[in-house]
Subunit: 499 residues, 2 copies
């Protein structure tokens, strides 16, 4: 079938341009000399635009139209059908926004991100407010253009978590919030907090790097098909097949920041390294959704990296690199890396409180999009919500409503993915434990390969073939169920806090 062949060739072209764009971006955040930034933005803009234009081209429209004819679709392989399904999904969304509007949006995003940086530095919501207003206006407008059944916020969610709705989310949030708040109360009121004093100190960068490399090796990250570098904000990027790069950052006085950051990004990287090579440049060589991708990073960071089993295996290696830990028992170290406390900043939050930060943002975003609240009132609303969710009041907006970059770049509807990632991680790990009878013993022996292979076989290799909820059912036999997360944190924090 010629159309299929041409369609695939066009996707491959786009894939190659995306690969070039990924490298330009990776370099922009790692090695580019300072004076190279201006030209780089232009080059990256050009290369990205070429790929984008090919994707929304009439050619692509024609191919998709042909391939979506019932009898044609029926004749396709499962992979090709999945490709047509998701490329049609993306094509329709992108075509829904008129090009001129999208161009203006891109320009406004870049101004807004710049304004946010300044606003955060000066803790001045006023500076950011007009830009945020624009971003919220765009979100409202885009939601109408994308279309939705029930709630305009659904149209935004769809961009990050296909199939997820506001109604679904609310059904998850209510009981989860109740369970977490009650557990958090018990932990802080009746629990025995771990000693964390030994986590502060002077940890040379080369030793931290050594530990990060050992952790990646233990996870069976393929170093011949990837790299670890340094950037201000850690990230993972799939430059192409056989080339998945992660970054971390080293703070001399904080041992765990680089290590858990690396394990987290390493989890993303294992997903990207595990995608079936057959899916290369089909548009499916990516994760099923932001939430599913995040489930992989969180599973490795938390279910594995913050477990006693992992530290029984890895602690001797840490002690070898940092002999000052020889006096600290592994159980105490394990308790220390699981300290839980109410805090103001999402990115520093622990497993127990993290989802509360997300719920707050979801609540505000959804209300903004539905015009139940307005941008100008956000600082006050934020602070009230912090009181309700975490019983804290930010000292200023930099530690409150201005803390995250997302809204400044128009990413409204993204935050729930972080929470979904945590929930999926717990659900998938519970399934893995059930299916691999002795998983914990294996981890304790340093066998992380069994888990990596299980994840690859059940999740990674499929790339973006399935929707998040299809994948969840395929992997665990049920749709997303927050019970697994509640059981996981209840058990872990009861143990850590000796409840």
């Amino acid at each position: 079938m010629d159309t299929l062949k041409e369609y695939k060739a066009l996707l491959a072209e786009i894939g190659k341009l995306d690969s070039a764009a990924s490298l330009l971006e990776w370099d922009e955040r790692t090695y580019i000399p300072q004076k190279g930034h201006d030209a780089r933005s232009e080059v990256l803009g050009k290369v990205s635009k070429l790929g984008f234009e090919l994707f929304i081209s009439d050619r692509m429209g024609k191919y998709l139209e042909d391939l979506n004819r019932e009898e044609v679709l029926a004749s396709l392989s499962e992979k090709d059908r999945a490709s047509v399904r998701w490329m049609t999904h993306d094509y329709n969304r992108l075509k829904a926004i008129p090009p001129d509007l999208f161009e203006q949006y891109t320009i406004d995003c870049s101004k807004s991100e710049f304004a946010w940086e300044q606003a955060k530095a000066e803790s001045s919501f006023e500076l950011f407010q007009p830009h945020l207003q624009k971003m919220v206006d765009y979100a409202r407008q885009f939601a109408e253009l994308y279309g939705y059944d029930e709630n305009p916020y659904d149209a935004l969610l769809e961009g990050y978590e296909p199939g997820m709705t506001t109604r679904d989310l609310k059904a998850i949030v209510e009981p989860l919030r109740e369970a977490l708040v009650s557990l958090l109360d018990r932990v802080t009121e009746q629990g025995t907090p771990p000693d964390t004093s030994f986590l502060e100190g002077d940890f040379p960068v080369d030793k931290q790097r050594e530990l990060c490399m050992r952790a990646l090796e233990a996870m069976h990250f393929d170093s011949d098909a990837g790299r670890l570098d340094v950037s201000v904000h850690p990230f993972t990027t799939r430059v192409g097949p056989g080339d998945v790069r992660i970054t971390t950052r080293y703070m001399e006085n904080r041992l765990l920041s680089s290590l858990f950051g690396t394990i987290h990004e390493g989890g993303h990287a294992l997903y990207d390294q595990g995608i079936d090579p057959d899916l290369t440049w089909t548009g499916l060589d990516t994760g099923a959704s932001m939430g599913i991708h995040e489930s992989q990073s969180r599973l490795w960071e938390n279910q594995v990296g913050r477990s006693l089993a992992f530290w029984r295996f890895f602690y001797p290696q840490l002690q070898e690199v940092l002999p000052e830990f020889e006096e600290i028992p592994v159980e105490e170290f394990y308790r220390a890396v699981n300290e839980a406390q109410r805090s103001l900043i999402r990115v520093e939050a622990d497993e127990l409180t993290y989802n509360l930060h997300i719920m707050l943002r979801f609540e505000l975003e959804e209300a903004l999009v539905n015009r139940r609240i307005e941008v100008k009132d956000l600082p006050e609303i934020w602070n009230d919500a912090m009181e309700r969710y975490l019983r804290l009041t930010p000292p200023d907006d930099a530690h409150g409503v201005l803390q995250d970059v997302h809204w400044s770049g128009g990413m409204i509807g993204y935050f729930p993915s972080y929470m979904l990632g945590n929930l999926y991680a717990a659900q998938f790990f519970a399934t893995a434990k059930r299916e691999i009878g002795d998983l914990e013993e294996r981890i304790e022996r340093g066998d992380l390969l069994t888990l990596r292979e299980w994840l690859r076989e059940k999740i990674h290799k499929y790339g973006r073939m399935y929707s998040p909820s299809e994948l969840a059912e395929k992997v665990s036999g049920e749709k997303l169920n927050p019970r697994h997360f509640v059981e996981y944190v209840t058990s872990k924090f009861s143990d850590v806090y000796r409840l």
Copy 2:
């Protein structure tokens, strides 16, 4: 004038794609993980092809046709006129080769390079011969397609040294060869060779890197607009304005390889960093020719880096990093870094013998293209020529005719650029000495900025606005004159060898 605007916009598009391609290539030689190579070739191929197709597009042809009309040309600024001149030059050459032929050539080049690697490893000319035959056939065919007045070899030279002819080259080679051979005889027969024993030893990579960074700093390489990394074959690349990257390689037992390599690439980099920002993405933001570019690397490596004045300034820094040199007087060190001897391998040759290696290759290339000799006889012809030029006989073809990569990639007509670089370097440096009265004293004081500024003002800023010989006249008041080189080496080696 709309055409001019559109023409510039098209050049900018091409420039941005070239910038992306440069980064893809840089990364391929520095940081790419091993399993990323296959996909990278495809991505680089795609991005390069996009730029190439835009350059030879009918649109470009139309713009150039319009802009080359006499009355239009007369109305252009000097820079725009230069752009139209050189883009027309390149366009006509690229259009001279039918696309199918060019595609086949590209494929054959890649096979040929692969075969050469094997052939060199096994020192088997037989393995390489059929591929080299193809490359020579292409060169002969391309020469006819490009067109020439006198000698088909001129058509090939034109791709690297616009305006240079075989006749010009021969006029340079004859007397130069005579002068060099006679000087080399005096040096080897009557000279006092320097002691070089202290150049062997164990020089840790981090100390070598420290020295390289200090040398770049002394040269006023702008580290905010560039980087130094490591690769197997050192190179310089201009990723874009404000982003010029060089590489070096470190060999623990050879101190000078990384240092002089870095100074050499640093010379290329200063050229690229010094191009007038107005020329960005005009097609003129590159060097005037391969030879002129090489003149800048060689000037810094040899006229500066191997001078006594430079070492009077830089030696204390070297001694600080490598205290084992405290006992060696600077004059002895200076003599050691200028050791001259007949040797088999071009890339390891010193200033005195290097041009002889080039003359040999020029002689053979020109005879091949003109069918006065044939590929199958090359090993024998090579060895005879080595005897004539350097009184040496290679022990095998790996140390003879198979030593260089150039021919395997179809680069026939390139070698003379190296020699021209040496000659231009001497000519430009002689001019600089004349115009900056106390240049040597300045270098001895560590003031390399005066020289860098002089080069920037006279050469770098113009990018590719002028042909090599126009530029030579503009800088030095005369066309290329090998006398300057002969005077330079005679004076230096008389001093070093105490003649």
